[in-house]
Symmetry: C3
Subunit: 655 residues, 3 copies
């Protein structure tokens, strides 16, 4: 099943609604308004467990019956949510052992949301029970087109769980993975610091040690907890499949969220969704320092185009099918340090970009601003007093006919892998650099050259790509290496720093170096250099020099040619960029160098390169080209006059 | 009873003394010196529980008998303190359950001060017992003129208590407030995130949830803990009233302290006191960013005049009777990040300002610098070696005849409310802005215009004011609204941003908007905009434009006229300031705009406006005008030559 | 015993090796290479407990037998380590009570290193047992020349222990120190805040109180925990002495580490060692603000010469015998926020400096970069793939004949005392200033004048010095004072701010002032002034003025002459520097003033002063002078052309 359950020629718009938050006297009028501004569906029932089951085993469906009925009658379709992100107070009171425990060993209490331990057998039983009850009642309702599992798994730092139940389960998981303690000790390198285990019961969770645990310990803990979340969801998905045939099942992920493997969680879903809050995500990544403070201020009212686009491409790529924006910002939010109003035009800008990057559905968050509780200062399409807010008019003005559904077909892939992310960030080595910041540098360089990008798992199907960019594939096993070597038969490959630094266990490669990727790269690693703020390293590439910050890695060519060398400093004269056949290896973290190398490479691969001004981006879907200006000033580009914060859809690719 | 228990025509000066810290051989000479430099009283016995009762039930009054005797014989009056801020070790050892528990769930141990749980019935019993014993012995001593309860309630983050006793008491308190869980669930908006309770025993304290609790939950927890502190004090006050008739009872609050409702705590007191440390308070509020770093450095040796004055006006206003400075800085302190020496003249500057803002008594802290323990690097009037420190000579030079006691009578009120403070800060939305920073902007604007200000509770008597400024009355119920509407019959009113954002429960107004204040304001709220650092919003007011930072709120006039509009940005063309009759609403956080609007308003109200240079301030009391120069350079103002850090008392209002 | 156990005419070089981390097939070749590049010894067996004793009481020596055999056969000597820094999992599992508890009361788990409570009787028993077993087996092996106890005591914040066992032991320790509670209460000043104890069982550890505990409480806790670590080590030393006669015993301390008294821990050792990581230490002290950010960047690839030299002089001075560098950085490290590659030449630079400052042995850390676990991104002399890394060639190029062993004989002493350090930092009073930052200012001034410095305990032998500099002797008892007065008979003395601020108990001096040092100084303290960033105080010294930051202390001369006075500000006209005979007292924290005063003083004492350019330093040992250029650019100095990052050894003192 997929979103074709609403057969639609063009982008579907909807809204997240919480009818239980307002008087039912308003429902019919709300539904009417929703239809009037062009919405096709509502997302309902998220977090509503205490209303579905006010006391243990006592269900109350009357309100939801009516809410669905009202929506349906108005011509709206319904996406339902399992309510498990908000276990009710009576359940917590009866079973306090379901509460989560943080890395610091402290129990987290009721009073917010996500107060459950994903490892708790007791909670899982209740999760299955409420899912069964809900799906049993509405699974075949004609208005119900799909399901969202739970809400934002991992929010509030809840994916990594430190309960006794999790500790036990981790040991079982490790036993299943390694079979013997000898194997585990070898895989983790436990001879180091006498960390060897002689009994499974000796193994702690990696939260409370004197200092950092082994990165292998951490990596397996991330795999384990990712698996817990995935299996928790899978239990719900299985029930939904059984009781609600023909409906899609998805989950609403979060921008850049990294605490589990989103590929693993997407395996049983029809497509992935994510919650897009461009102004919030911009500041959430302040600490990555991927842009100058002035740039961040310049984009304060729209977010940065490449940040949002990267997440679209990421979540589309999880299943390769049109993704949804399950929560789309349509006004000011409330959870960033500061929450500026979106620029005029931003809602259309974001919606159009979502479409061009493959979205089939967009649900605005939320219908009416909540007049209570934690999100009281978050906007909705209606104000607190029920009058239309700024986003309302913007949504009304969106002509979805401009956004026909079609597959996104790209020739350039960017490889992304959560295990590499975890391993990278477990030992960052250079303050200010992390997996996402490094990955973003490559993604943004491609986008600034007018290139559309698929974000793909390195072990996925790479057969259709002409250029494959692997910014930070730190974890490299023999199977992955051979898969990439195969891809090199038909595509140009680019690797960034820290490539293949570790094997599957998180240890360095047996025998050092690039391990199973050595032959493909035709080079051996020499030194890496962490550059503190203020310390630069120069790279000479052709006639130009480029300033490198944060990270500089050098190579010993073993067959590869040297494309660029370091000039001055401890790496003076050593290779910064090598090329072995069509495989390029970039060791220097330099936005301008990356852009220059990619420009050459894309050209060699016969792909059109279109250098774009800052804040101007093009994206292509189904024969149409979306040209957007994300800046606050008008831009003329290739003869197109682009108003501030605006889009154009061109039938022809313009360049 | 009030401070008239020492009939005095002019400001009373005294000192905080701890005779138990030094050899009794020194006491007589100390008393003589105290008299010589013009002091009238000593504050004694603070924290001295372990000396009063060295073991459970074994009292030792000999030392305090003698200390009072020595003071009395020298002609000094005595203010006594209940010693409950320092429970002795034997009591904690016998009853470890009286120890406080922090928000993080960890027990705080003995070894500092305030290590008690205000909710503990056991500790309360001992509090009453020691108060009874102390007041029984000295309550009618002729030298004893008054009492200080405990010391600095809430210091060390102890007002909010997270013990099991507090948890139980919170549930009882909620039951008393709401009657039913339905009422509580509705008031808190608990349908949100399924936070509905079906048993009182399910309700946690709001400290340890996965993420923020509901602001209503937090608001009621603040009310509850405020009430706990108030009832704890009331028990002592009742005993003191019974055993020490005719003496005043007060408490020494702290500058800007916000963890309980000071109006509630002041209800049973004769007058309020506070502990004024101008150089410390200056840096304690660094994070509010209310002044540029260079300004803070410029005032490093005096503190900022408006910061100290605001607290004077606040604490005077708690009871409306002459307040005391129970601890007045008279040298360098030890608790700020850096503790510069006060400028020459600062002690007189501070004392004079205290007087002009309504203080009837000032006690310097402390007589001799402690040669031991936590405050070893804090100064006193005597140095560690017993010789006079810099402040000693300054105190000696103060001519209290310049500072005759008289009521402070002002025509301008600034409204302040702790519930609004708690609700505001529970969801600040804009990094760098908080309740006090916003309130200070209005207060400082008034002071820079030469206006004397009463700080008054919004539900208090407003009958005598010509202008009423309400910078941040976020919490607005119908009674408050009608009280304000009444005030508008005789006074001009000004409201700042976030006015009436919430009802009494902390939820948004029923029906949204300004709720019960809508009619008075003649406007509806449109959008608010949080401006991150670096992002400005321009406001056009008359011929001028003003830069707005941090917060910009817009309005839909419903009868009001528009005084100022936003220019550019998402709020372009919308109202930034409205006026409805004599009620003005300012939505933009801009010091210059606030000053400009107030200037017009004060003029319209017939109040004299005197724009003052930075650091120069005038204050009026009883027909005299105090003109002060808080800067490090000489200033000529209206013909008066003001030396650096100096005051003049003029008989006539100069302008 | 001492390092003469390898009779060597010149600096001994070695390496830290972990043969258990790699295949034994590599061992012989590794040993051969080690010899080829000039290494004389290997350090083995650190952290290897789980390999020595894989299960309780089951020892396995086969691997270590062979490792020692291989080294020995290649001509390498062996330094062995007791493995107690890494208790094996089976021991923790059997005795979870040996786990440490942090200041926050949380148990720290297995999974890293140093997970033991130094106060645990159970762990101490196992520590003695494994030491006995190891020393019994290898103590008399001809290749074994010495022992390292444990590893980096206190690393990971483990010196201060908060277990129940520590609490009990602290009470016993206090009882032994004070005899009676009256004595303890008096010594700590517990009358303050009613902190008086009436039962030893009432005394808590100073970790979890509402706010800071008394500095006397903290000071005694530091003494107590220092003693625990010392007695823990002493148990091992006694065993090693018995079972391994004729071998040296040392411990590898850490740069600037402050959590115990290193003099106390060194008492039973033959000499002290330390682990020198110049690029890491540079950034570890960022928060001390002892250099401008640009300076820190300029030295990012070498570290700062004075920072490393200070630690050499400190650790040499612990025993007064040639110290060792037990771990010498020889490539990039992994534990600083950013970890740049060392400059070309840095390994020789560091080695030469170590020698010139008295080192007899240098062991590079480590042989091959670990391919696993926590230190995977830390370099070694061999890369992960076994090929020589950059440091390998540098070590190979070192000609140890340039570095003959000889005593270091200096005429200038700098006094350093851990009790003063603890007392100073317990109440810093001025943000940005601490004990080490103040001490460094004096040390660096001396070094910039070309002076070689002994760092000496104030109660140690001062008989041979012409100039004695005491930057921060905050703790001053009568015995220390009289010892210093004796030294003043033959040497010029300089004291810095906060001198003698406290007696032995941490309280202020009885009677205030400088207490027992008053007569020597010929002055009384007046005020100290903490200067926040941006606030300067000017000092007039001779014809010059100097800007003072952070701290300015003034004096009342009682016989001393005034050398410099404050100009302007609250201290205007008061003494900033006094001189009483040959005893100078500097109250202003000003690098230029310190340098100017020292220049005069050194000249008066007949010592040659050689002002040096930034980054150029000279050091003398045994008639040779080492001239070093630590900068990235060539420098010509006194006719010597110094390449970037280079050294010269001159036979004659050049000036």
């Amino acid at each position: 099943m997929s979103s074709e359950s609403i057969p639609s020629p063009s982008l579907l718009l909807g809204v997240c609604d919480y009818p239980e938050h307002v008087s039912s006297a308003l429902w019919a009028d709300f539904a009417r308004q929703q239809r009037e501004i062009g919405l096709s569906f509502v997302r309902l029932a998220e977090f509503a467990w205490s209303r579905m089951e006010p006391a243990s085993g006592e269900y109350d469906w009357t309100w939801l019956d009516k809410a669905i009925e009202v929506a349906s009658r108005a011509g709206l379709k319904v996406v339902l949510c399992t309510p498990t992100a908000a276990p009710p107070a009576w359940l917590v009171h009866a079973h306090p052992e379901i509460l989560p425990v943080g890395r610091d060993g402290r129990v987290k209490t009721f009073g917010s949301r996500r107060h459950y331990d994903v490892a708790s057998p007791v909670f899982r039983e209740h999760s299955r029970r409420i899912t069964r009850a809900l799906a049993g009642r509405y699974g075949q309702h004609p208005a119900v087109i799909g399901w969202q599992t739970d809400n934002e798994f991992g929010w509030g730092d809840t994916a990594q769980t430190y309960t006794p139940a999790a500790t036990d389960a981790f040991r079982v998981w490790l036993q299943a993975r390694y079979g013997t303690l000898d194997a585990l000790n070898a895989a983790w390198g436990n001879v180091f610091w006498s960390m060897e285990y002689s009994d499974w019961a000796q193994i702690p969770l990696p939260g409370q040690a004197v200092a950092a645990c082994s990165p292998s310990h951490t990596l397996d803990f991330m795999r384990f907890t990712s698996g817990l979340v995935a299996s928790f969801q899978a239990e719900q998905v299985a029930i939904l499949r059984g009781l609600s045939p023909g409906r899609f099942v998805t989950h609403n992920f979060m921008g850049f969220f990294s605490a589990y493997d989103h590929y693993e969680l997407s395996r049983g879903l029809d497509f992935a969704s994510w919650d897009s809050y461009p102004t919030g995500t911009l500041t959430a990544i302040d600490e990555w320092r991927i842009m100058e403070p002035e740039t961040a201020v310049a984009f304060a009212r729209t977010g940065h185009p490449d940040i949002t686009a990267l997440n679209h491409d990421l979540y589309r790529g999880l299943t390769g099918r049109g993704h949804w924006i399950m929560e789309q910002q349509c006004g000011q939010i409330d959870w960033a340090p500061s929450n500026p109003l979106p620029a005029k035009g931003a809602v259309d800008l974001w919606t159009a970009q979502a479409w061009a990057h493959g979205a089939d559905g967009v649900a605005y968050f939320r219908w009416q601003a909540a007049t209570m509780a934690q999100e009281q200062l978050h906007s909705g399409l209606l104000r607190h007093n029920g009058t239309p807010d700024r986003g309302y008019a913007e949504v009304q003005g969106i002509d979805t006919a401009r956004y026909p559904l079609a597959p996104v077909v790209n020739r350039v892939a960017l490889l992304h892998d959560y295990e590499s992310l975890w391993a990278y960030n477990a030992q960052p080595h250079s303050s200010g650099l992390n997996y996402w910041a490094q990955t973003f540098a490559y993604y943004s360089a491609l986008r600034s050259l007018g290139i559309d990008v698929d974000i793909v798992h390195p072990d996925g199907d790479l057969g259709s790509y002409a250029v494959i960019v692997a910014p930070a594939l730190t974890v490299m096993g023999p199977e992955r290496a051979s898969h990439l070597a195969q891809a090199a038969g038909h595509a140009a490959l680019v690797f960034g720093p820290r490539t293949a630094l570790r094997g599957v266990s998180g240890r360095g490669q047996d025998g050092g170096g690039f391990g199973p990727l050595s032959e493909l790269l035709g080079a051996r690693p020499l030194n890496f250099d962490s550059l503190p703020a203020g310390l630069e390293q120069t790279v000479a590439f052709g006639a130009d020099t480029h300033a490198t910050h944060l990270w500089a890695e050098s190579y010993d060519p073993q067959g590869a040619e040297v494309l660029a060398t370091y000039a001055g400093g401890p790496l003076d004269g050593l290779a910064a960029v090598t090329r072995h056949g069509d495989v390029t290896l970039i060791g220097a973290h330099s936005a301008t160098l990356i852009t220059a190398v990619l420009t050459d490479m894309l050209g060699d691969a016969g792909l059109a390169v279109t250098p774009l001004p800052d804040g101007v981006r093009v994206s292509r879907r189904g024969g149409r080209t979306l040209v957007q200006n994300w800046t606050a000033h008008a831009v003329t580009w290739h003869g197109h006059e682009l108003a501030p914060v605006s889009s154009r859809v061109l039938q022809e690719v313009p360049v």
